[in-house]
Subunit: 350 residues, 4 copies
């Protein structure tokens, strides 16, 4: 359409960058006009620079685009970023300074006080935080982040419980897919027939980000949610989809049916606004005793719906259940894209 | 050797039955003289009846033995059992009635009040319970059980903590190997690239058995341990080795080094008696940040040592850590064998 | 639509039966009105009787249908069959005798002289063979079969070569997906981290069926193709998609580009008639040096296109290449469905 | 022992380097006194520089050794090499020039006319070729190589057939383990649930090396064997063990039993000399219909025995069968070690 907004992708050749390319093909509002990656890719056609790892075919128009240098010059005003944390810490501020709306999946700035960490269904109000950013005041640019792939599914499952019953404590043990580590990421020799009970910095991110996401915006800062939160993160031999065994303690007593309703009935602004990437149902409860499973449920809601199952009483906290969400769609590119759609709907991208 | 005790295996053709065969080859005290399985196997040479799934070669002497009918007639006085629960419920009492010492890995009788559920390093005193069994009084026979494969690694890791610091609460999330489901067990279509967040009755067993094992024998009954205990069980694409993400709340404050010492220093009767299958060290703490892992650590102590790692503070309970133990050795055949060795050392098999 | 032909599925609960259900949902010509399976499933709703193993949701209308007894009484006139060979040998003739058009994926009758073994793009003329069937003459019923899942991809790749250059010898080594063995099929303990160099009767089927498919109908019988053919079949830890390393000797000299054109240009009646399940391109050559791969290419042409790659000279025969095709779509349910569509187009189902 | 020969390892931190370390622990003749790797590892303790990926514990003495610079100065006279090909091409000649006996697993010099490519059981006579090396004449140093991991199992299976019946043609399709690609090597995203029908340069190596190995030393050069040879190489999700589906055409007619005897009876100098790493039986035929399999057979003969199975007639060539051998033991470190033992026995290391 002639009115589509031009967007760029920083870190376009990685696994999450590829998801951006995939999800932006035929997007009704946005159109990719610029792709950037590391120096080694600069000037090469995208199809050659990216080692495409997705099952759909690489979009023809994008395949032929030349990869640009990762500099604000010549970049469009809307930038999706999927950079390694160290590089993001350096580049994202530079793009924001140059007046770009940087909508990023990178972890670098997520916990910075004036940077909104947002899941549109959960804490869209936090977006206001970007008004506090110096970049915003100077150049109009800003940075908005989405959470870590392991935090987002959890928080989508927790938000309805927090809203209806309040949360006192949360414990989550993850079994995370290899695509979460990017490409080449996890060596096959490390994960075939194995479980790795460690992902660097993942537990810290999951704990901090969950509390920021479920926290309350108070003027120019987010007060983290007050419940106690503990995460243990494991890597398993799954391609896509982070599965989590979760236990929660609630502030108010709740019956199983009430909890299930809280999940199934959960709707929010992205659904009301019918944002293009918003799933009809952000959280769905599966009644079968052995679900959700990555094999069957990871693509639920085109990968944007979080599946929950196995709700049962917990003898230590109150309730336990299993959460599954797609780590490179809802947990990365789709998360950023939905943030962008919300920003557009709220007038931040005009 | 001429003084070896003849033993039989009930359920000799399954995965755990095969482990019994493997572990009893060259055992200094016991010698297999009898193998029984389902009717379909009766009369056939063992090598033909069993679909051997272990990496070592099937012992030549056993390979040629004929599989007997699963009846006490003609069976030796010491019986290792590895039966499906429903069949065990029927057969094990019959063998005990006939005067056999039934040392079983089956779950059928584990929670029965007069049946000892024993890990030699943890609660050997519970063995006295067998004196309360009617079988014992009538025929001299008895039944002694070992715990579920998911409970045993956990309990070995918990026992030193309980002894030194006391336990108030325990949460365990398992990632269990496919060999725990026997053979053929888990279909490859169900587990390749997948996590199954459900194993029938496993969580109940894990919770109940843990409390019985760490409970106190009071006259003719075991008072279950008083801490709260919650388990979540998942199946992953691992061949051998159950990995568990565990959180605990202790009664007394403990420093990390004290906890690690509690594990590394833990020794018990099987070590003092130098029982043939006792590992030198029942629990070992691994200092590397990403261990234990099934690939590298499952065979620790010939599969009889439980590996623990990643001790760190938990923001909900007190401490969290990862436990790994071999599910068909320490978690099944080796557990029963060590029970038998302890029974022998205590004079119950004379 | 009101004019859809009612069809039934024999063996509806298995993996291939499920694919029939999936592929027949929203089919423009056929509508499932009857589902049959083993006695154990009879009378139960399909959703309960079938352990649904596909990633799409079980169609709501079918989910509630009751599973019928596997008897011709009450069955519709068009039957898709996906039965174990032994059962098929007994049931399929019974349905044909009762006047049904039995379009089967089972192997039982494939090599029977008067039963057409058909791939619509390759040997649609063989369908005339059904006129020789006694059933056809007596009741109007008949049996038409499609080949084994390992043969069909190979034959689709061979047919264009046979037509243009002639074939003197073919060697194929397969690496077959676990779904080819049905459900539960291959035990996870057998295949995780493993290769099984044996699939019972598979090599015989592949060799015989290939020659029958590429043979010539001569009056009332098919003369098998005259080239020599050797197959070696292996099972690998792949969910869907049989990969094959193939070498061929041609009658006429051919250049690489000619061979590639032969594949890419190959079209046949199903494409000309625009049969609903016909892929636009039955065979596609992939130019990348490391393709086809099950992960990326198995769903090519909605699982109905055979992918070929890596054409290069062979120092023993003439050329070698890699073939991939979807074993439960093009190799089973889709094969039968395309046969049915061709039969309909040719007036055999009126 | 005080008489052990000091040896060094070039490329000590990689997967094959680690196997050297593992296999040289407690070696009766050799003792590691020097370890070298890339600059990045220099000066660091081995345990820190190497990401140890083997299941046995890293030997304590070696763990603490400092990694040296990859320069001949200070290196011992016997060097095992496990370098990337490009680096080997530069470094190996430098060590030979400096007077070292370089016994290498690298591919760089394998096909060089004056460099022996040796499997001790197959073509030990080719070792004489090293007398033609300029290095040998100048400094006493020399280079001896062993074949690619995919060639060695095949050649061990072919040698007895060549000796007894002669070979006219050989076709081999491999299914290769991920450890063959080193560490990190194959990305888990590339191989989980997948087959990759391509390994760069592998087919060329397999074809060329097989013919050189089975060729005849004629004065100062090796005449490659005269049969035609074709290889197709695939990567599968197996940790260790290359499985190969092989077809052969023989010069003389042979019965199945004769072929099986040729394999089982095959012995050679390493067995007669009782070289420490020589397997009792270099090739073993397994009678079960579904063997060899990596899971069960890869460690046969401590990883030094090649397993063969499934001998049956081939309709294109004469016979077909399956070969399995351990790719990092017999196919790499063990191959070089056995070469070193043979060199020692022949007086080349004095």
């Amino acid at each position: 359409m002639h009115t589509k907004l031009p967007v760029g992708i920083l870190g376009a050749t990685g696994i999450v960058g590829q998801r951006f390319v995939q999800m932006l093909e035929r997007h009704p509002w946005f159109e990719i006009t610029w792709l950037a990656a590391s120096d080694r890719s600069e000037g090469r056609p995208y199809a050659e620079a990216a080692r495409w790892r997705l099952k759909t075919v690489i979009p023809a128009r994008v395949a032929e685009m030349r990869v640009s240098s990762a500099q604000p010059d010549g970049a469009p005003k809307i930038i999706f970023a999927a950079l390694d944390s160290a590089i993001a810490a350096e580049l994202e501020p530079r793009f924001a300074e140059a007046g770009c709306a940087v909508i990023t999946n990178s972890s670098a700035l997520r916990m910075q006080a004036d940077v909104p960490l947002v899941i549109p269904e959960v804490n869209r109000g936090h977006i206001k935080l970007l008004e506090c950013q110096t970049w915003r005041r100077k150049s109009g640019g800003f940075v908005v982040t989405n959470p870590n792939c392991s935090a987002i599914g959890l928080v989508l499952a927790l938000a309805p419980l927090q809203q209806r019953f309040g949360l006192k404590a949360v414990m989550a043990v993850t079994m995370q897919a290899v695509s979460g580590a990017g490409y080449p990421g996890v060596a096959s020799l490390d994960i075939l027939g194995n479980v790795i009970p460690y992902i660097a910095k993942e537990e810290e991110k999951m704990e901090e980000e969950t509390l920021k996401l479920l926290g309350r915006l108070n003027g120019s800062k987010v007060e983290p949610a007050a419940f106690s939160m503990s995460a243990q993160c494991n890597r398993v031999a799954v391609e896509d989809g982070h599965t989590e065994s979760v236990s929660v303690q609630l502030k108010e007593k709740a019956a199983a049916e009430e909890i299930i309703s809280a999940w199934n009935d959960f709707r929010s602004e992205p659904q009301q606004l019918r944002l293009p990437s918003a799933p009809e149902q952000p959280v769905v409860y599966l009644g079968a005793p052995d679900r959700p499973q990555p094999r069957f449920d990871v693509d639920c809601g085109a990968g944007m719906t979080t599946s929950v199952g196995r709700l049962r009483p917990c003898r230590v906290l109150d309730w336990k259940f299993t959460v599954l969400s797609h780590n490179t769609i809802r947990g990365a590119a789709g998360a950023a894209l939905l943030n962008a759609e919300l920003l557009k709907a709220q007038g931040y991208l005009d």
